[in-house]
């Protein structure tokens, strides 16, 4: 073979290599999560979940032969950092999609950036305004605040509660929840007899619960994500206020039930089924999904699973399924998610549509209660 032919053959060979390399371009996924800071108990399990699932996925050969590359950025829960990391992920790393942020404030801050860059954003936060109005490239996998409030009011009606004392923390989550509760209460014939907002770093709330006691409330509803939600319960019981206590879906980390100890018994709150994985009925559609996730997570990280890590599980699962169907074409993947029906995740069964980028119905929530320091389904 003469040298020229040899060079041509080598070039052809190189070209074919490049072609095959282009075929298996990796799926680059960015994650904006509050791994440290005040929202760390949301972001940290989410980051751990992604790390675990991406590893497992790549060990099985990735998505349709594509490896998944994960880039986690710790936002510390700050919207400003979330914005600059979002830009970095999009412009510098050219990620295909972003999972997170973990908190509502951060999600609201970055959604427009993702939309303008036509980069999919799968938020793990609760606030309704993230996907209302709908932005084509913005989705969210955590259930809505209004559904949580609705579930709580239904339970209150069943118990004949009419006068409620509302406590909430001065965070995005607390404020959004307070608005929903105040908006939805009249329709259920429930009066908010007293409403108190406390600081997110509060360490004792005896004075606040004393005020509720003075107002003669029939139940307490607390809406926050901080350790204060366990403090509220203890303080109420210590001053001899024995009325039923309701919490938001922010209570769905068994750490808080443990922290409240004996006082936490009987607290009621709405949450997705992942935290009661063992006790789900055999016929429950979510049972295999949540049990597999729970076992893998708890075996690896030696800590209790929470609904928050579950959101990261669902976001990655939805993305992987859509990429598996549509390849690395952003518009096609976006359409694939919009058309996705019956995706069974940890938070519930997702049915997306062009007008519903959350996909979860109210049945994603179940009323739970604390029994012997564990979460169980209410009335079971």
């Amino acid at each position: 073979m003469n040298p020229i032919k040899l060079a041509a053959a080598a070039l052809a060979l190189a070209a074919s290599f490049q072609a095959s390399a282009a075929e298996v371009e990796p799926l680059r996924v960015g994650a904006l999560l509050a791994v440290t800071g005040p929202a760390a108990f949301l972001g940290a399990p989410e980051a751990r979940t992604l790390e675990m699932l991406v590893e497992a996925l790549n060990a099985k050969g990735g998505v349709g032969g594509r490896k998944v590359e994960l880039l986690v950025k710790d936002t510390g829960g700050s919207p400003e950092k979330a914005i600059s990391f979002a830009k970095q992920l999009i412009e510098e790393h050219g990620v295909f999609a972003i999972i997170g942020p973990a908190t509502s404030g951060e999600s609201i801050a970055v959604k427009q950036i993702a939309q303008e860059a036509k980069t999919l954003l799968l938020s793990c936060a609760a606030a309704e305004v993230i996907t209302t109005p709908v932005l084509p490239y913005v989705f969210k996998v955590a259930p809505k605040d209004s559904y949580a409030a609705e579930m709580i009011f239904r339970q209150m009606q069943k118990m004949g509660v009419k006068r409620v004392g509302l406590l909430s923390s001065n965070t995005g989550f607390g404020k959004a929840g307070k608005e929903q509760v105040e908006k939805l209460a009249p329709a259920h014939g429930i009066e908010i007899a007293a409403s108190e907002v406390y600081d997110k770093a509060a360490t004792d709330l005896t004075a606040e619960v004393t005020k509720l006691k003075a107002a003669g409330v029939q139940a307490i509803l607390n809406w926050s994500i901080e350790p204060a939600q366990a403090i509220v319960i203890k303080n109420a019981r210590q001053i001899g206020l024995t009325v039923p206590i309701f919490q938001s879906h922010g209570f769905a980390n068994v750490q808080y039930a443990k922290a409240a100890g004996a006082a936490g018994e009987g607290v009621m709150f709405p949450a997705s089924r992942v935290v009661v994985a063992e006790t789900l009925a055999a016929a429950d559609r979510q049972r295999p999904v949540v049990q597999a996730y729970k076992q893998a997570y708890e075996a690896r990280y030696k800590e209790d699973v929470s609904t928050f890590g579950g959101h990261a599980h669902d976001a990655l699962g939805i993305l992987v399924r859509a990429v598996g169907e549509a390849g690395l074409d952003r518009e096609k993947v976006r359409k694939a998610i919009e058309g996705m029906q019956g995706y069974v995740g940890t938070a519930g069964v997702f049915n997306f549509s062009p007008t519903d980028h959350n996909g979860l119905a109210i049945d994603a929530f179940e009323m739970l209660t604390v029994k012997d320091g564990k979460f169980v389904q209410l009335g079971r």
């Binding site: 005040p38 108190e196 406390y198 004075a207 004393t210 210590q238 100890g261």
Partner: protein, 297 residues
């Protein structure tokens, strides 16, 4: 307002007050011997609570607390040896920046070591729901424990500073460092001791209040601000006054909740601080004359 409710707010105030007071006392001890405000004081409280929870996994409660106090004292000593001792005559600003740096260092180390989760020691007596009924007022036994600890700390410090030779030497340091050094008082070692002492007191407080307030790697900052407020309010350097100021702020905060939305609670304590400092710049219990002399000297 009915009496029962009134007393209930008072008890809530005393609970806040004890926590503020003990942190404020820690500020004072170091201020007295060194003239600096140690902004890592809140981290000592956090370290005490967190290490006691960890030790409690292997040890009975009293030993776990003792161990946590000793460990935190060791950290206090290390902080002094590594960051403070070798500085010749540092400016106040430099010291503030150093102690803030130390507080960030301890906090981040705690985050790496313990993670972000929230912990607490069990209640010393009874559990989360038990409360003593005193004339229609409900009090958690843990509140009585922390009140007793606070009083014990104050009594201990009084005896230590007034009745022991080392305590006298520390007071000598406080009133005039150079004169004390000339009289043969080992000033540098006393500074180390003051860090150990305030770390130990902070840690003890951290253990006693942890069943009430919980503890996590990040609680130090907030505690330091409240403790600092109380130390200033009482008059810097006066531990008994800091305790009194702690109770004043705690009770006012609790009653403010009965009249105003709870969100204003922190604003109330800062407003009180500002108001009192306008009228009495040397603090509630400080001597105005002394403050003037110090300012001149």
């Amino acid at each position: 307002m009915e009496t029962g409710l009134l007393l209930q707010y008072l008890v809530a105030g005393l609970t806040y007050g004890t926590i503020y007071a003990v942190v404020g006392v820690g500020f004072n001890i170091i201020y007295n011997t060194t003239g600096i405000i140690n902004f890592a004081q809140g981290e000592f409280v956090m370290l005490g609570g967190m290490s006691a929870v960890t030790l409690h996994a292997f040890l009975p409660l009293p030993l776990a607390i003792a161990g946590a106090v000793l460990l935190t004292m060791l950290v206090g000593v290390l902080v002094e040896l590594l960051f403070i001792r070798w500085l010749g005559r540092p400016t106040v600003l430099r010291m503030i920046i150093i102690t803030i740096g130390v507080s960030i260092l301890i906090r981040e180390a705690a985050l790496v070591g313990w993670g972000e989760s929230v912990r607490a020691l069990p209640y010393f007596t009874g559990d989360e729901v038990s409360s003593l009924s005193l004339g229609g007022v409900h009090v958690s036994p843990q509140v009585l424990w922390s009140l007793a600890t606070c009083l014990f700390i104050v009594a201990f410090l009084w005896v230590f500073f007034q009745r022991t030779p080392v305590g006298r030497q520390m007071r000598a340091c406080a009133s005039n460092r150079e004169a004390a050094a000339l009289c043969g008082v080992p000033v540098k070692n006393l500074v180390t001791l003051s860090f150990a002492l305030s770390a130990g007191i902070g840690a003890l407080a951290g253990c006693v209040v942890s069943p009430i307030t919980y503890t996590s790697y990040g609680v130090g900052g907030g505690l330091a601000i409240k403790g600092f407020t109380v130390a200033i309010l009482g008059g810097l350097g006066n531990s008994t006054a800091a305790v009194a100021a702690g109770f004043v702020v705690g009770v006012l905060e609790a009653f403010s909740v009965s009249l105003l939305p709870a969100a204003y609670k922190d604003a109330i304590s800062v407003a009180i601080l500002l108001a009192i400092l306008f009228v009495r710049p040397s603090g509630l219990f400080g001597s105005a004359e002394l403050a003037r002399l110090e300012a001149r000297g």
